[in-house]
Symmetry: D2
């Protein structure tokens, strides 16, 4: 199993202090990568991430949104994202992925090898990637996947 690369974030929303995966070790991390103008994210992935955040105890499961802008960079700015998060009543922490150099793909997106948005990544309590899904995910399966990871021991 692959260790999850640390997040590279230029700006956070919905959290007072920056978050790191290192600091979240011991909890299951649900990393939801999206773009605010991606219809599949708005209709499916983002509401699902919010439902996950509402269901599981934050002591056990940390939901983190990752704004991985790889197209329409001048439209999906942090200012626009802030308004989006407000209008859609998103309450979980969201980090802006650091833009790439000489590439439209931002850095965390590249480090994880994501194919597009929405992408759902589950990281276990020991910091390892256990699921990497591109596109729509079934609530029933995602609920089961996350629950099983919470039932594992914290250390590898």
């Amino acid at each position: 199993m692959t260790q999850a690369p640390e997040l590279a974030i230029s700006q956070w929303f919905n959290t007072d202090t920056p978050l790191t995966l290192a600091q979240l070790r011991g909890r299951v991390v649900v990393l939801h990568a999206f773009q605010m103008l991606c219809p599949g994210c708005v209709q499916g992935g983002i509401p699902q991430a919010q439902r996950i955040a509402n269901l599981f105890s934050p002591d056990k499961v940390a939901v983190i949104g990752l704004h991985t802008v790889f197209e329409h960079h001048d439209a999906m700015t942090p200012v626009a994202l802030k308004a989006f998060l407000h209008e859609y009543r998103i309450t979980f922490p969201v980090g802006v992925d650091v833009p790439g150099e000489c590439t439209p793909i931002p850095q965390t997106m590249a480090a994880y090898g994501m194919q597009g948005t929405p992408t759902l990544i589950l990281i276990d309590r020991a910091g390892r990637i256990r699921k990497h899904g591109f596109g729509a995910e079934d609530d029933l399966r995602v609920g089961a996947d996350i629950a099983l990871l919470t039932a594992e021991p914290a250390s590898a």
Copy 2:
């Protein structure tokens, strides 16, 4: 925790041999009680039970439908149920709850104290009732609830 009462079934569909909870010990049992003319069952509970049956391995999770007719008894006969299961492509085993004596409530429904349909009951690997829900249930939560029970040891 309460031990789950054994099922009282007059007729089975979608299984060659009658099922008992005793025989399913070691597996998580998802007991979905419905009536074929209950709109909330048709729109929500029954499709959810089918999704559960599709997702989890039958070695670990046994989905059982229970036709708990407590009203319109002359409409929801076993003949009608058979046509219903065919038309709605239900593949999991379904048992007809034994009619009550001097009461419209059938016997298994009474033994479990169900309030109506749909009702979802989760029975753990040791045969104990762990969840008893009346009405619509969230896929995310149900997926998590079932998964956690599969992760428990088989004996109490």
Copy 3:
């Protein structure tokens, strides 16, 4: 344009007096053919027919359900239909299509050449068939189709 054949009905629900197309001349008639155990009818066609009945004035638009049982005859009896209409809160008149002789296809279904259920037939104010649709129909289009027929003069 074809004149709509008169309905052959063995039993009515949700109306005190039997209905005939002759008697409804001057109004647009929405004829919704269904079977109570047809999933596409339960999920799509029947709720749409109820929405039509709720939206348009009965002085202008008469919604009639037609129970065209062509399979599972012993399951979809008038007794079962009565319970179904009660449970699904259907308020518009529903007639049971007269069973065929030497054929599973009932008489009105045969007279109209329907291919299956759900079928939606629109009859204009002069009693002529103006739309004959098999399968799911779009609300926007159906609303427009019916409205245009109400705007036509009553006589051919």
Copy 4:
């Protein structure tokens, strides 16, 4: 009936030439006012406007989107709107409402007395306002409303 005020538009998308209501006289105009970050617009109003544009002949019914930004002005810029229209596959013409002076409410929105977004306004073939709806609208009713206006004579 009130004559529909002319549109005040700073920039058009999805049309080579600017549109005016005067020029569309003789057709029914469906004016859909939205904001690109309004959840009710994205989930309901905008897809409905696209369905209307797909269903009715453009010779008879002109669908026009109006981007009435009254909040989050720095987020919902024309650059962001352009990306939004591309991502959501919007094909009907969309005009950007001219910003207000000394007020967050843009000019066309103010002239029509709109309460918020989404708003659906139907303008008849003679240029008069015939429907002014704020919030979610039923497809069946909207289809009927539009169809009836197309059946009216062109001159008042």
